[in-house]
């Protein structure tokens, strides 16, 4: 067997869920490790250094959040959180702690696979980008040229304000990752105050308008209601 397969660690206490995720990932050519508790997950992580962690938040021994915290102290390995639907606060907390994406239970296997692919890909890219900013970002017919600070949709140049451009850069550098309102505000304005979420939302509305995106089209940026925004990964 090839050793170049991605290693994915699943931390989930429900045996049935674990088993179907495992079956699915293995047939999609990933190497899969399983852990049913937080402690076991930490141990597996330390000894196997997986390329990605799929983490359920409701674990019997400790809260999954603590695992994210623990891992993020030293590592940028992508983490996808499995969360129950009704709790935006959990999602935001997990993302702010450093999780890359979340997926809401119940989910389809296709959806999970797509997220895994996107997160792995964007992780690879952002590592490259962090070391050498500049170059170009391409997504569908969207093109961002970091060197000349220009944004194009098709052939047309989009006239963005400084703030709008900064938002686009931040989203695109982290394409594939859900960014919370707080994270974007921190990156773009450096501080946050009352009303800054609205300021961000107004800017996003203008960006969408300038790019000619209407609701319901899956183009460029996904709205995660009450949580934040996510730019699509490059060939999602």
């Amino acid at each position: 067997m090839g050793n170049n397969k991605y290693k994915i660690l699943i931390v989930e206490d429900e045996a049935n869920i674990r088993s179907f995720i495992k079956a699915n990932l293995e047939t999609s050519d990933y190497q899969v490790l399983c852990a049913e508790t937080c402690a076991l997950g930490m141990m597996m992580y330390a000894s196997h250094h997986p390329d990605l962690i799929v983490l359920d938040l409701g674990l019997p021994d400790r809260d999954g959040m603590s695992l994210i915290q623990e891992v993020r102290k030293t590592d940028t390995v992508p983490i996808i959180v499995l969360s129950a639907r009704s709790n935006e606060r959990d999602k935001v907390e997990a993302l702010d702690l450093g999780a890359n994406d979340y997926i809401t239970k119940p989910f389809g296997t296709e959806e999970l696979l797509a997220r895994i692919r996107a997160v792995l890909r964007s992780h690879r890219h952002s590592e490259e980008k962090e070391s050498s900013p500049g170059g170009k970002f391409r997504l569908q017919d969207l093109l961002i040229d970091y060197d000349t600070r220009q944004v194009f949709v098709g052939k047309e140049e989009i006239d963005l304000t400084q703030t709008e451009y900064n938002i686009m850069v931040f989203l695109s550098v982290h394409a594939g990752k859900v960014l919370t309102y707080a994270a974007i505000i921190r990156a773009v304005w450096g501080y946050s105050d009352y009303g800054s979420v609205k300021k961000l939302q107004v800017n996003m509305k203008n960006i969408r308008k300038k790019m000619g995106v209407t609701p319901g089209e899956k183009r460029y940026i996904i709205n995660e209601l009450g949580v934040g925004y996510r730019m699509l990964a490059e060939d999602e």
């Binding site: 009704s86 119940p106 009303g195 209407t214 609701p215 319901g216 709205n223 009450g226």
Partner: protein
């Protein structure tokens, strides 16, 4: 909330008392008679006791009125003179009016509260009954199909196996939808009546709904019409998303002959009006009233227990919209088809610039 009410009550009391006083002055000028004076004050006290909350406004206004009669409208004018027997008697009468009106009033209020409570209770009961009944069908099918697959695995031809698996999947999807609705109901249940509202950008809400909808129904196009400008509306976005989703799916499942499904939002004053309309078969007249209570389905449901039950989805919609302090309505369009409509308050406009 409490403070506001207190302010309102106080203001109202002062206003009524002031008017009573003014009317009396006027009458005194015009007719030079005093027989009407106590009556008008009694009426004022009655009004105040009727419209305010608690006893204190009525009683206070009664006492103040007695003083006013004594001071301004009995001889000697503009002097307090408490040795007039009349004034003691009128004080007693006014107090009696104030106390009995307030008592009656609070009793009515209590009853109203109880009625609202039992109405909510009834709605919840209906929902639970409908849902538990409806959960059994897909569960039976999932259990049956999977057991068959396990016990007869080798005997079944491959396409038969796939068919059974497909049914399991389909029924699970239906269960998911059901449980989402149940979760929504429990979210608005609980001790607090009001939901937690956060300002939600209309564009983003509609975008999110459409994305989810097209994932489930890729072939159904939805025509959307929303205002151009930046609109944010305080709401529990997950719940309103669920309402719109339910309404759209309801049209897909029930509006026979539909070719056009439309989701539109318009602004009317300080409200945003949401509409989901189709050009399908419309709703039977007798359903229009009962459709949101969850009680319609039982009488009219086809005997085969068809799982495309609209009762639950729509009563969940009604409950959610109600929790947002509004109402949902359904009507038939003139040209055929149905339209579902509800409005949300836009809240005060403060910009964060």
């Amino acid at each position: 909330m409490k403070n506001r009410q207190r302010q309102k009550d106080t203001l109202f009391s002062i206003l009524i008392f002031g008017s009573a006083f003014a009317v009396n002055l006027l009458i005194q000028k015009l007719f030079t008679t005093q027989t009407l004076v106590p009556m008008i004050f009694v009426f004022g006290v009655f009004l105040i006791s009727l419209k305010t909350h608690g006893y204190c406004y009525g009683i206070t206004s009664a006492i103040v009125s007695v003083f006013a009669v004594n001071f301004a409208f009995t001889y000697p004018y503009y002097v307090f003179d408490f040795f007039v027997e009349e004034s003691i008697l009128s004080a007693v009468i006014m107090l009696a009016v104030a106390v009995s009106t307030s008592t009656l009033n609070s009793r009515i209020r209590d009853q109203e509260k109880l009625r609202a409570e039992s109405e909510k209770e009834r709605m919840r009961g209906n929902l639970l009954r409908a849902i538990s009944h409806d959960l059994r069908t897909p569960l039976t099918s999932i259990y049956g199909s999977s057991s068959t697959l396990i016990s007869k695995y080798d005997a079944l031809p491959k396409e038969q196996q796939l068919k059974l698996l497909g049914e399991i999947q389909e029924d699970s999807e239906w269960l998911i939808r059901m449980v989402e609705n149940l979760l929504s109901v429990t979210r608005i249940d609980g001790a607090k009546v009001e939901v937690v509202k956060t300002p939600t950008v209309l564009d983003e809400l509609i975008d999110s709904v459409l994305m989810k909808f097209s994932k489930k129904h890729p072939n159904q196009k939805v025509i959307t019409q929303i205002p151009e400008e930046f609109v944010d509306i305080p709401m529990d976005s997950l719940l309103i998303e669920q309402v719109l989703m339910n309404l759209l799916e309801n049209a897909v499942f029930h509006a026979k002959g539909m070719t056009e499904l439309m989701l539109s939002v318009s602004l009317a004053g300080d409200k945003a009006v949401f509409e989901v309309s189709d050009n399908g078969c419309g709703l039977p007249e007798d359903a229009l009233q009962k459709i949101f209570t969850g009680s319609y389905e039982k009488s009219a449901a086809p005997v085969d227990g068809t799982r495309r039950n609209m009762g639950i989805g729509l009563s969940v919609c009604a409950a959610i919209v109600k929790a947002h302090g509004s109402d949902i309505t359904a009507e038939n369009r003139k040209g055929g088809g149905a339209v579902f409509r509800f409005a949300l308050e836009r809240g005060c406009e403060d910009d964060g610039q």
